[in-house]
Symmetry: C2
Subunit: 197 residues, 2 copies
Amino acid sequence: MKALDKLIALFRRFPGVGPKQAERFALYVIKTPDGRIEELAESLRAVKNSVRCCAECANYAEEELCPVCADRSRDRSVICVVSQPQDAAAIEKTRTFNGVYHVLHGSISPMDGVNCEGLKLKELLERVRASDGAVSELIIATNPDTEGETTAIYLTRILKDSVPSITRLACGVPLGGDINYMDEVTLGYALKGRTKI
Amino acid sequence: MKALDKLIALFRRFPGVGPKQAERFALYVIKTPDGRIEELAESLRAVKNSVRCCAECANYAEEELCPVCADRSRDRSVICVVSQPQDAAAIEKTRTFNGVYHVLHGSISPMDGVNCEGLKLKELLERVRASDGAVSELIIATNPDTEGETTAIYLTRILKDSVPSITRLACGVPLGGDINYMDEVTLGYALKGRTKI
């Protein structure tokens, strides 16, 4: 069946979707009332037409500015640099950060050669420079893996003269984690970064 | 962000999709070129417009008849009764069945009261009667659970006078299964249905 097979093939391209799940999705489409599927088709188009990058932080936005940058109560002197939009969303969920973000849309991978193409690095540099010293802290919240660390080191190198304070997220044992089962590198970081109680 | 949140909510309705996966799907939509997403929206519509029930077996079809019923080389004297279209697809994949199917689109659930509404039972009865004795065997391939067994018993009761042979899929230890970890009911069936070697 051509139409059905094509839809299954398109669902297969979704991240983390295998053949069985793609089939289930297609059967869901068949069983769901026409109106709902029309709504889905329209919603796909609406997202493609309305979502773009925020002019300030490069996060996804449906207006000129994303909700965070449009919020005048946010502290513009602290910029949290993240690799992906979902990382910014995760930090927003903690409700403990009142600064603004900068989304790089990727990280520097030393394995693939230092490739900064497509990364919003120049935009970050320009943003910091345009602020004319108003940025007091840059929190680098890239993942604690090879790519994330490389990106952090690179950012520190190019920005250390423009920003008074450049910080990195704390690395340590996650809440509910078991010290016994923790890898030694994380445990080493947790020990080095111990805090007074 | 309204458009994005709506798309995430619509993906949440997909079977087995949680909040994280729905978010990943939405980000995939943002990152994928416009043309591909347009293709997906069109494909959703095409499926809703073209997929219907086969006039003979009630399986999903894009023509008047499904590929199996349209294939004149299939043996129309053997009908395999399944609950869902995907069950017929699974049996097709074995490449060992040359008969035709009948899809009930559900099974009788004694827990919810014996509710046959929406089931293609009447269609099966009419099909068997219209064949005028040409149907020699009915293989009942419903799941070996309460609903499937109830459906099988009910079908046997209403059709035993019209079809010479009504059979049921063998129940036993699956290939690669461990006898030690098998539940006792399955093992009991496997013992009762033992075959000569």
